[in-house]
């Protein structure tokens, strides 16, 4: 450990020296002739979006070729930070979510792309999250939000009415319990709901929906009702206990796709996965739908209102080390992926583009996708708040809150005790006021 940190240090130091020798000799005018740009991606075999965008752009701009450079999906940020620090970063790289955006921006690893942002329509969501002091540092192209998936076959079996878009979390809890009881009576092993063991499953909603909730304030009491509901569901046996999720490495894809649970809050990225797995046979064949995420209270619930949910926009930024002659082409690519053409091509492969309103029709032409009104409403209408507020203290706070998450859901401490402890720790580390 000690060693590898320092190796990184040595690598960074050496690269700084080398970079100093190299200097920037690029001319400022746009280069003519073929240009090749490198783009960071991950899990290329199962994540087609990078290649789709690269090929789509190349088709309209034959002079520019985008080469995708593969990174490990789970260690993406660690690897990217190491590469950038060593001066070996790709020309264009993705901000997977907002958690480390501050680190990159504060470390001067993102080029100002405000001029690209100016040319985009207002319907591109999440742009403001990537703006600091009036300047834009990355362009969102993908905008997943959390919704609620439900299994219509299991609802039918239990004889429970489908969700109507007006649910609060209390409705969700009572329906989950009702489903569990009635499914048991109908000789089904499925449970009412499945909440995956990620901290965002509970905390993302709590932060987005609770009025006045602020992670940086150092007051985490907004989490309490959300944890009490999850604990109640575990206790009632309406959802798998977190200990069984972690020890058996349960996946949410199997829990919902293999009909182990009738409802599941999850991000819209799962739509494409579920469709693909139903085709390949990895998931069962059953009718399903999506509904808006359950709400904090009735003021935002219902199809006549805009439900509040969370999700970090995925954005693309430019490495400032990029040769000046290539910047114009790189910016054109950013404009393309966030614009109508890019959004259409993403929607065709089941990915929710940042401009989801513009492509809802294309999206619901996918084979096997539920086309009821509520699913369409849930996909297109929501007020999506960021999961990770952009601030220096966010990564450290999220780690503390993850410890709170596992200790509360495992039943090791009470919600109040865990919240008090996390608040004290945040204060002792100087992360909050």
């Amino acid at each position: 450990m000690k060693r590898s940190i320092a190796v990184l240090g040595a690598a960074a130091a050496i690269s700084l020296v080398l970079a100093g020798c190299g200097g920037s000799s690029g001319s400022s005018e746009a280069a003519s002739g073929p240009i090749t740009l490198t783009l960071a991606g991950w899990s290329l075999s199962t994540t087609p979006e990078f290649k789709t965008l690269a090929d789509g752009f190349h088709a309209t701009n034959p002079d520019v070729t985008i080469q995708v450079k593969e990174y490990d999906a789970t260690n993406y940020d660690t690897q990217m930070i190491a590469d950038l620090a060593a001066g070996k970063g790709p020309d264009l790289y993705v901000q997977k979510n907002l958690k480390n955006f501050f680190t990159y921006q504060d470390g001067k690893q993102l080029l100002d792309v405000s001029d690209v942002a100016k040319g985009l329509p207002d319907t591109v969501k999440g742009l403001s999250n990537y703006q600091i002091d009036g300047k834009t540092y990355a362009i969102p192209y993908r905008g997943d939000s959390w919704v609620m998936y439900y299994n219509q076959a299991l609802f039918d079996k239990a004889g429970v009415d489908y969700p109507d878009g007006s649910w609060t979390w209390d409705d969700y809890v009572s329906t989950s319990k009702e489903l569990t009881t009635k499914l048991k009576a109908a000789k089904s092993k499925a449970l009412g709901d499945y909440q995956h063991n990620w901290q965002s499953t509970t905390q993302g909603f709590a932060l987005a929906q609770t009025p006045g909730a602020d992670m940086q304030s150092g007051n985490f009491s907004y989490l309490k009702p959300y944890y009490e509901r999850s604990l109640a569901l575990q206790k009632a046996g309406a959802q798998v206990k977190i200990g069984d999720v972690t020890t058996n490495s349960l996946t949410y894809q199997a829990q919902f796709g293999k009909q182990q649970a009738a409802m599941m809050p999850m991000g819209t990225w799962y739509i494409a996965t579920l469709l693909a797995q139903q085709t390949s046979g990895e998931a069962d064949q059953f009718k399903w739908g999506i509904a808006p995420a359950p709400q904090f209270d009735a003021t935002t619930a219902g199809t006549s209102k805009t439900p509040v949910t969370f999700g970090d926009p995925t954005a693309l930024g430019i490495n400032p080390k990029l040769d000046k002659s290539k910047v114009t082409a790189a910016k054109a690519f950013l404009g393309y992926i966030a614009g109508k053409q890019g959004a259409e091509s993403l929607a065709k492969i089941g990915i929710t583009p940042a401009d989801s309103e513009a492509v809802a029709d294309t999206f619901f032409e996918l084979k096997g996708i539920p086309t009821d009104d509520l699913s369409k409403f849930a996909f297109a209408t929501h007020d999506t708040k960021p999961e990770n507020p952009v601030a220096k203290s966010t990564p450290a706070l999220q780690n503390l809150l993850n410890e709170l998450h596992t200790s509360v859901l495992s039943g090791s401490v009470t919600v109040d005790a865990a919240i008090t402890k996390a608040q004290d720790q945040a204060k002792s580390q100087g992360l909050t006021k």
């Binding site: 450990m1 000690k2 060693r3 940190i5 320092a6 190796v7 990184l8 240090g9 040595a10 960074a12 130091a13 700084l16 660690t78 930070i81 190491a82 950038l84 620090a85 480390n100 680190t103 504060d106 470390g107 001067k108 690893q109 206990k241 977190i242 200990g243 069984d244 972690t246 020890t247 058996n248 490495s249 990564p395 450290a396 780690n399 503390l400 410890e403 709170l404 596992t406 200790s407 859901l409 495992s410 039943g411 090791s412 401490v413 865990a418 004290d424 720790q425 002792s428 580390q429 100087g430």
Partner: protein
């Protein structure tokens, strides 16, 4: 007389040639060691006194990182957990591997098979070990709790999913994994104890227990010392097993120093602070090892 300078010159040439040959054998390894170990470790001591986020240059911050450590409750929890793990893991592994070695040092049928079986956990992928043990430990469906329930215990421990039982669970797996390796070292040590000593002890009427105390243990002293030192350092810097088994959780119940260093450095990009914690861990390892050497020396005298 005329031959003297020639002889001296040729001896001098031989010596310098030997030096060159010696260096050329040493150099490839030494360059690697220098670049990948020596320089980075040196830099670490510098970075511990800076505020550094990898991208922008490290800013000198004096003792700030260390004074921050004093008030950081997560650091103290990690330190406590590291000692908790070590205090149980070291004697248990030592005892288990010694017992195994004594058992498998006899002439019996299938001894080669049992030796291999005992060594197997050590060469198995740690991720596979963590995955399988986690399943065994599963609170509701795991075989371990099924057996405990069969003995009439209604409320079996939650193991890796409970803050009180996660550390014992990790220690059990740690002991199980490493005892085979240390068994092998002790087994080698046992071969060096002269058979005549046992014979002499038997003639003097010593029973098995006294033979063990008066002959085996003193004969194993050098081996046991080496094993204890290695085991101590290994326990203090345990990382991979905990990372894949519990990821420090639930809560901070299995958060150890190495993992805290990883978290601060690679997840939160506080490389200066992470370096400072590394220095604390380095200091602890060094201090414990020095004490062990001193104790061993006194026993030798």
């Amino acid at each position: 007389m005329a031959t003297m300078p020639v002889a001296r010159r040729s001896r001098g040439r031989l010596m310098s040639r030997n030096t060159v040959v010696g260096w050329s054998f040493l150099l490839p390894n030494f360059i690697g060691f220098g670049i990948f170990t020596f320089i980075p470790v040196g830099l670490l001591f510098y970075y511990a006194f800076t505020d550094w986020n990898v991208f922008t240059g490290a800013e000198w911050s004096g003792l700030d990182n260390f004074s921050r450590l004093l008030n950081d409750s997560s650091f103290w929890t990690a330190l406590r957990n590291t000692f908790y793990y070590s205090i149980f893991h070291i004697p248990l592994t030592l005892g288990a591997s010694l017992a195994l070695a004594l058992l498998l040092n006899r002439k019996m049928r299938g001894v080669a098979f049992f030796r291999t079986a005992a060594f197997f956990p050590y060469i198995t992928s740690i991720v596979a070990i963590a995955q399988v043990w986690n399943m065994l430990f599963s609170p509701s469906f795991g075989p371990i709790n099924e057996i405990i329930r069969a003995f009439g215990v209604d409320n079996p421990p939650g193991w890796t999913s409970s803050a009180n039982w996660s550390m014992p669970a990790v220690i059990i797996v740690g002991v199980w994994r490493e005892m085979g390796y240390y068994m092998l070292l002790i087994l080698a040590g046992l071969q060096t104890v002269p058979a005549q000593l046992y014979e002499a002890a038997r003639v003097d009427g010593a029973n098995a227990w006294w033979q063990f105390r008066a002959v085996t243990l003193p004969g194993l002293r050098p081996t046991m010392f080496f094993v204890t030192v290695m085991l101590t350092i290994g326990s203090l810097k345990v990382f991979d097993l905990i990372l894949v088994m519990t990821d420090g959780g639930p809560g901070q119940s299995t958060l150890v120093l190495t993992q805290y260093i990883y978290q601060k450095g690679f997840k939160e990009q506080e490389f200066g602070y992470a370096s400072a914690i590394s220095i604390v861990l380095f200091g602890i390892c060094l201090a414990v090892t020095v004490v062990q050497f001193l104790v061993n020396k006194r026993k030798d005298a």
